[in-house]
Every structure is written in C-alpha cells, then in structure tokens.
C-alpha cells in the first residue's frame, strides 16, 4: 500500500508544476498520514498536486494509521506534518499534546471554511473537518418487495420483521449483516445500538463506566436478535467482508459505513440487479428511542506540534487545497462533504438522513477507547450464547476498569 501511494503521489509530483499557482506555497515539506478510503484518496491526491519547486508532498494511506500515529508524531521532528483524524483519534493525539491549535492558520488561509467545519476544544481550533461518516442502513428494495415488505424499515424491529419475511419466503437464509468482527467492529455496533437508547456510557463527569444497566442489556438482546439473521460466520465480518457479501447479492439488509456507499453503488464489483435495488437510508431507531442507532463521525485535518512553523503552514495550505470546493465537486458522491459546494446524492443519503435524524457524535472522551476495547473483547461470549447479558456487561465494566486504572483515568 505504502509503495502504491508513494508512486501515486510521485506521478502527481511530476504533474505538479501546473498546479502550483492554485496552491500558493513556495516551500515546505508536507507529509500526511491517514486512513484509506475513496474520499480520503481524493483529498490527499489533491493536496499532493501542490508538490513542485521546493515543496514536497508525501502521503501514507493505511488502515493501520491508528497504530503508528502516536509514535510517528511523538518524534521530533514528527514523521508526518499532518494526520487525517476522526472524533476518536483526535482525542488520542490531544492527550499527548501532539497536534497544534490552528486558529492563526484558519484566520490566514481558511476563508473558505464554514464555522461548522472547525473542531474547537476549549475555544481553540484543533482540527478542520471535511466530511461526515456514519453507519446506516443499506436495503435491497427488490428483495424487500419480493418478500412483501412495504417500504424501507425505519426501526430495527422493522428490520427483524423484514428479515423474517425474507427468510420465510425462502429468498435468503441470512439476509442481515452488520460489521460484527470481534474487536473494534463489534464494539462499534454495540456503541451504535446503545446510542439509540439515548443513554450515556459513563457516569456524568467521571470516567466510571455505566453500561451495565437495562439499556445495555436491551442493546445486547437487539444485537443478538439481528445476528440470528446473519451468516454464522458473523464474528469474522468486517467492512470489507460485508461490502463483498453485499455486492455478491447475498444480503438484503445491512448496516455499513456511509463511506462504502459510493463503492457499492458504482458499476464495479457487482451486478446491475444488486446496484439498482440498493437504497441507502438513515440508521434505524429502536425501542422507544427517537435517536438513530448510530454514531456520527467526522474526518478532518490536524497538524503536528513537532514540525517547523513553515512546514505546518505549507501543510495547512496544501490540505486546504485538498478539501477545496473543486475537489468536493469532482468527488461529490465519494462522501458527505461538509463544504458548501456539496450536492446530496443517493450514495450519501444514508449519512445525511442519520445526521438530520438527530444521531449523536461518537463521544470525544479520552477514556472511550478503553471502553471500546473492553466491549470488543467481552460481548462475544453473550452473542455465542455462553453467558448472560448481565454477566457480559459486568465483564466489560471490569475489563474497562482495570484498563482505565492502568491509563490513569481511574484510581
């Protein structure tokens, strides 16, 4: 992957001379670390077009960015001048003071940004968001129709009923999929579902976990009911697996990331039947909750503390070029962009619907990561039927408490 991006960027570097006027930087070294999906590829390749005389742009797009970012930015000078962060990774970097406030640079170069794109913590701009993401419902309307289901399910209870009809009609044995691979993905599904109850994960103002309650139990019960309609291998399903299953036409109802939308709806990797039947819609609500059972994520630009001011500024300008209105217009379907030039499309209807439905953002708490890890490891026992929901949640809290003590969040 690394080699591929390097050569990709290298190709842009050769073409860079024509773009230099648009970027307005004359010197500096720009290096970007980020996750890897189509929208981010569009941003980083546009930023890379700023390369030219005296300006170098390197990018490293990898899904393992989380594992290397802290070490890479702790070094002085930092290995990367910018990291494309999200709700959760920004907190990790801020915990160690590895990213710098951007107020001055926003004032100088950020005229095109809208206020809602600025991620401010305690009054200081710490990141500039450029896109929103969320997990939401993907439905195959043709299969739903064939099974006699009216419309697209709006609640998870409706999803279960529709899945039962599809199974009863003999159309599909396992029509439902969630990203339920044990670990981070499964924990994220719990977080999404729990968000739908409107409850908090921690006791107010403390780092004490508060998931072992009736909301937690109901969340686990709902997840278990859903995976009953999933392929028995569901504990190995990540985003790549669910997308492949969807494109192979094996699924009718799935909760997947919005950023997969354009890849599912394009004319590659699937049949016309699957693509034309696929509709993206808001994450369902469930129980008595009014809030869609999903978490909102933003992806944005953060600049390293441990680089020279010159490089930081060059990086900021290059990245502003990466998220400019032109890039958004050219890649409109790749994401739900936060830029004013963005036009809603079918591929982004799910994320927009989830956000306008009132879903909450993923908590920006420094100890959320430890709870997420504990969830990913401990709730599989319940789903596999070897322990009760209460026991699984008690295990989650115990594992979290031990981890949070080690990280200094609890005494």
């Amino acid at each position: 992957m690394f080699l591929k991006t390097i050569s990709f960027v290298g190709a842009f570097a050769l073409l860079g001379s024509t773009a230099i006027a648009g970027c307005g930087i004359s010197s500096g070294s720009v290096s970007v670390l980020s996750n890897d999906f189509p929208a981010i590829q569009a941003v980083t390749s546009a930023a890379a077009s700023c390369a030219g005389d005296g300006v170098t742009v390197k990018t490293n797009l990898t899904k393992d960015h989380k594992d290397i970012m802290v070490a890479a930015l702790t070094a002085n000078p930092a290995q990367y001048s910018s990291v494309i962060v999200s709700n959760s990774t920004l907190v990790t970097l801020m915990n160690d003071g590895l990213v710098r406030p951007l107020d001055e640079m926003v004032a100088k170069h950020g005229a095109a940004l809208s206020k809602s794109q600025l991620i401010t913590v305690n009054g200081k701009v710490m990141a500039v968001a450029f896109m929103a993401n969320a997990q939401h419902l993907f439905s195959r309307t043709d299969v739903l129709e064939a099974a006699g289901v009216d419309g697209i399910p709006a609640t998870y209870e409706d999803v279960l009923a529709a899945a039962e009809k599809i199974r009863a009609a003999g159309l599909m044995e396992y029509p439902v999929a969630l990203n339920t691979k044990a670990g981070w993905n499964l924990a994220e599904e719990f977080v999404n579902m729990y968000m739908g109850t409107g409850a908090d994960f921690f006791k107010a103002g403390t780092a004490e976990a508060a998931v072992n309650n009736e909301n937690g139990v109901a969340t686990l019960d709902m997840l278990k009911s859903l995976v009953a309609y999933s392929n028995p291998d569901y504990l190995t399903y990540d985003s790549n697996a669910t997308q492949a299953e969807w494109e192979a036409g094996n699924l009718a109802l799935a909760t997947m990331w919005g950023s997969r939308g354009s890849a599912v709806l394009d004319d590659e990797g699937s049949t016309a039947e699957v693509v034309s039947g696929t509709v993206l819609s808001a994450a369902p609500t469930w129980g008595n909750g009014a809030r869609p059972a999903s978490t909102l994520w933003w992806d944005g630009i953060a600049i390293s503390t441990n680089v020279s001011d010159e490089d930081a500024e060059a990086t900021f300008v290059a990245m502003m070029n990466g998220i400019s209105s032109d890039v958004v217009k050219a890649n409109n379907a790749a994401a739900v962009w936060l830029d004013g030039a963005y036009m809603p499309s079918p591929a982004s209807a799910g994320v927009s619907g989830t956000a306008s439905g009132g879903a909450a953002p993923y908590p920006m708490l420094p100890f959320m990561g430890a709870l997420h890890t504990a969830l990913g490891a401990e709730i599989t026992d319940f789903l596999q039927g070897s322990e009760s929901a209460e026991q699984a949640l008690a295990d989650v809290e115990a594992a979290y408490t031990a981890a949070a003590k080690e990280q200094g969040f609890l005494k």
Partner: protein, 343 residues
C-alpha cells in the same frame, strides 16, 4: 580450550545477547511495574459539525509536567500482574468463595481473559507438539524409503507449508474453509449440513487452529528427522536384519533410540514455538473463540487508539515464565544425559 581463549571467543556473542536479548527483557519487566500517571482532567466545551458538548479532556500541560518528572509513569509494583486482566487474584478468590462446585469455579476462571488465553495456549501446545513430532517422524521414514529420483521433489513439496509465511498460509486456509470456500463447502456436503461453519463454533475453531499448527510445523520436524535418518549406522541395521528384526522392530529398537537427542531438540523448539501461537489467531479472525498469550500482548498494542504498555509488558513477562516452566523437564533431562556421558 583455555578459559581465557574461551572468554575472548565468546565475548562478541555475549555482548550481542546482552544488548538484544537481556536489555529488552529487563526494560519490558521494568515497564510492566509501572502504569500511566493519573490523568489531570478538565471539563471543556467541544464543538464540531454536529454541535457543542461539555466533555472531559486531559489537561495536556499538567499531565506533561507529571511525565517530565517521572517519564516511566507511576510505580504500581505487581498491581498490573494481579489485576483483573492478568492473574486476577481478587476475582479468583471471589469465584472460589461463591462457586457451587468445581465446574462452576472453572467456568468463572475461564471467563477471565488471561486464563481463557492460557487454556487455549496450553491445549494448543500439548496437542500440536506431540502430533508434529509424530507426523514429522512418519513423513521422514516414508520419504527415506522413496527411490532417489522422486526424493528431491517430494522433500521440496513436503517443506512447502513451512516455507509459506504463517500469516499468509493461515489466510489462504481461512478463505478455503469459508462457507463459500472449497474446503468449507466440501465439509458441508460431506456432513450434509448447510449451516456447518468452521468459523462460528469455538470447538471447531480450536480444532481448525490446531490442524493448521500441525500442517505448518510438521515439515520442520520432518526435515530434522530426515537428516538424522541419514546418520543411522548401516552396520547396526544390517546386524538387526540378520538377527531377524522386522521393519517395525528395527525402527523401534535401532532408529528411535538413535534419534532420541533430535527428538528432544524438536520438542524443545516446538514447545517454545507453540506456546507463542499467534499468527493463525489473527489470520483466522478467531479471537472470539480462541485467544493466546501472544495475542493478548498484540491486542494491548495494536488496533486500539492508546497502547497499554504496562499490561503488554506484564503479559510478556508471564509468557517468559510460562515458557521457562514448560522447558524445565526437557532441560533437566538433557542436563542429566550430558552428565552421564561425561562420567
């Protein structure tokens, strides 16, 4: 060799071993005795595309001061070793008091992450190791009797499982045993069960991982045994034949005793290797059903946003202790044999 010559002879290795083995282990052990500083928290207003919220954040400046004073973190003694995510003394005590019987107690113990991992690690080690030695020996005997012309290619093919990188080898198998894969669907066809999934049930996952382990390691045992077979003295074999020993008796009374030191060597290596079982768990996405000590270390360091260095250090030290305990019987035996030979 004079003591002095010996000293100079061994000095370079000694220095490298100190630098690259002893020092890292000491640093890991020291790290495992520490936890991070108490985080200084402040409540701040966070704003973004989805609105504003009052949330707790780490006070970077205050925490940085603490880190500057003591970069290793707070001294925690053996606290990390005894907490719930490792040896869990408190939880085991409680489980012992509240259990209704041995089965209930065991199920409570196996619910704790460290013991669950230990259970799989030990089962894997004690099932895979003897099977690897047995299969390796049998393959070596078989190949040794082949005509010269096809010996070379056979040896090459037999070694393939070991040549393939473990991560890749297990990933290939992972796809083959998928319900849509060639092995997975064949098994479904044989057992006439369309729901049969090797990835879904914990017992089948355990079996699958162990089968993989044997498949991957048997070639190592094979090649060592095969080399050993070339050194079996021909006179002794001929003498045994003249005495009317059958093929089985020759193998049992001549070949096996001759290869005993090699068997001990393979056991030693395999016990160590299998106790560190790791790659197949990652490749097979098997963490829901099977975890190992090495996997716990990996999980503390990778895939989470903030790494748990103290916890990973503690598990590493416990793994080293585990390997040492496993190897004691084999080492004692080797030591005795060595002493007998000197006398």
């Amino acid at each position: 060799m004079k003591n002095r010559t010996f000293f100079w002879f061994i000095l370079p290795s000694l220095i490298t071993m100190l630098l690259f083995i002893a020092l890292p282990i000491i640093s890991v052990a020291v790290q495992s005795l520490h936890i991070e500083h108490e985080a200084v928290m402040v409540e701040v207003k966070n704003c973004g595309p989805f609105g504003c919220k009052q949330e707790l954040q780490v006070d970077v400046e205050e925490t940085a001061k603490l880190k500057q004073e003591r970069p290793l973190g707070q001294f925690n003694g053996l606290g990390t070793y005894t907490n719930r995510n490792h040896l869990a003394f408190t939880e085991i005590g409680l489980a012992w008091q509240s259990s209704t019987g041995v089965v209930d107690f065991m199920s409570k113990v196996l619910n704790l992450p460290f013991y669950r991992a230990l259970a799989f690690t030990l089962t894997y080690t004690f099932v895979v190791t003897p099977l690897v030695v047995t299969f390796g020996f049998m393959i070596a005997l078989g190949v040794n009797t082949l005509p010269k012309k096809i010996k070379g290619p056979t040896i090459f093919i037999s070694l393939l499982p070991m040549i393939v990188t473990p991560l890749i080898g297990s990933l290939i198998l992972f796809w083959m045993i998928d319900a849509n894969g060639i092995l997975g669907s064949t098994l479904q066809w044989i057992f006439e069960d369309p729901d049969l999934s090797l990835k879904a049930s914990p017992p089948l996952t355990w079996i699958m991982l162990m089968v993989y382990g044997v498949w991957h390691s048997a070639p190592f045992a094979f090649i060592v045994f095969y080399a050993g077979l070339q050194t079996v003295p021909a006179e002794t074999m001929e003498a045994a034949m003249i005495d009317g020993a059958s093929r089985w008796e020759r193998t049992r009374y001549v070949v096996l005793p001759h290869l005993m030191p090699l068997t001990v060597f393979i056991l030693l290596i395999q016990l160590m290797d299998n106790f560190r079982v790791f790659e197949p768990i990652v490749s097979f996405s098997a963490q829901a059903s099977a975890t190992s000590l090495s996997w716990i270390i990996y999980n503390d360091l990778v895939g989470t946003e903030s790494q748990f260095f103290g916890s990973a250090g503690a598990t590493s030290v416990l793994t080293i202790i585990g390997v040492s305990i496993l190897l004691i019987p084999v080492l004692v035996r080797t030591w005795r044999d060595f002493n007998q030979k000197v006398v």
